[in-house]
């Protein structure tokens, strides 16, 4: 079974803090993704990566950056957290098939 893990299930940060969300997959997948999920808006793609050190902007990249130094790990960075970044963050990975496998999510609250 594919396993995608995320470093925290729940996180509370203050406005202006730098926040790191970590994601690790154990299936040697090339592609990794970061989404945020908000009520009524569904899943929206923030960034994705199709190879180590490669990254592409998704639909809502503003206020975020990413890092992929190793194939199994994809990090999402909030340089200066704001209250409108309070959300559920989901990481996913995919290999040579289309379906993406998701982690359990990190519920981030910015106060």
């Amino acid at each position: 079974d594919v396993k995608v893990t995320q470093s925290s299930r729940y996180l509370v940060k203050r406005t202006g803090e730098k926040v790191f969300l970590e994601c690790v997959q154990d299936m040697d997948h090339e592609n990794m993704f970061w989404y945020r999920q908000d009520p009524g808006l569904g899943l929206r793609l923030i960034y994705f990566s199709y190879d180590v050190k490669m990254k592409e902007k998704g639909d809502i990249p503003e206020g975020y950056s990413v890092s992929r130094e190793k194939k199994e790990r994809f990090s999402l960075i909030l340089e200066s957290a704001s209250t409108n970044q309070t959300s559920m963050y989901l990481c996913a990975s995919s290999g040579d098939r289309y379906e993406q496998y998701f982690g359990p999510g990190t519920r981030l609250t910015v106060t």
Partner: protein
Amino acid sequence: GESVGLHLPTLSVQEGDNSIINCAYSNSASDYFIWYKQESGKGPQFIIDIRSNMDKRQGQRVTVLLNKTVKHLSLQIAATQPGDSAVYFCAEILYYGGATNKLIFGTGTLLAVQP
């Protein structure tokens, strides 16, 4: 997550009945579709997929139907059980070219199974 079900259309069914969840997709060029299930507090989980050259595909207790003429997808769950209670999303695949594929998700439907 816990708040995913808010603001979503809800389908309420009795245990043992069949459920039909519908989805309209946006891009006539999409050639692959997936249904995901998201239980409260968990990430989305793959259920079943279908390619655009098919109009029906069956899995265990689930069937997906694809109508490309009207860009409509449905998920049928036979003999619905309490464990089927979740938010269900459809996703269409847009080929990104070269490297990877982008999923476009519907907003989801909350399935509530009454015992």
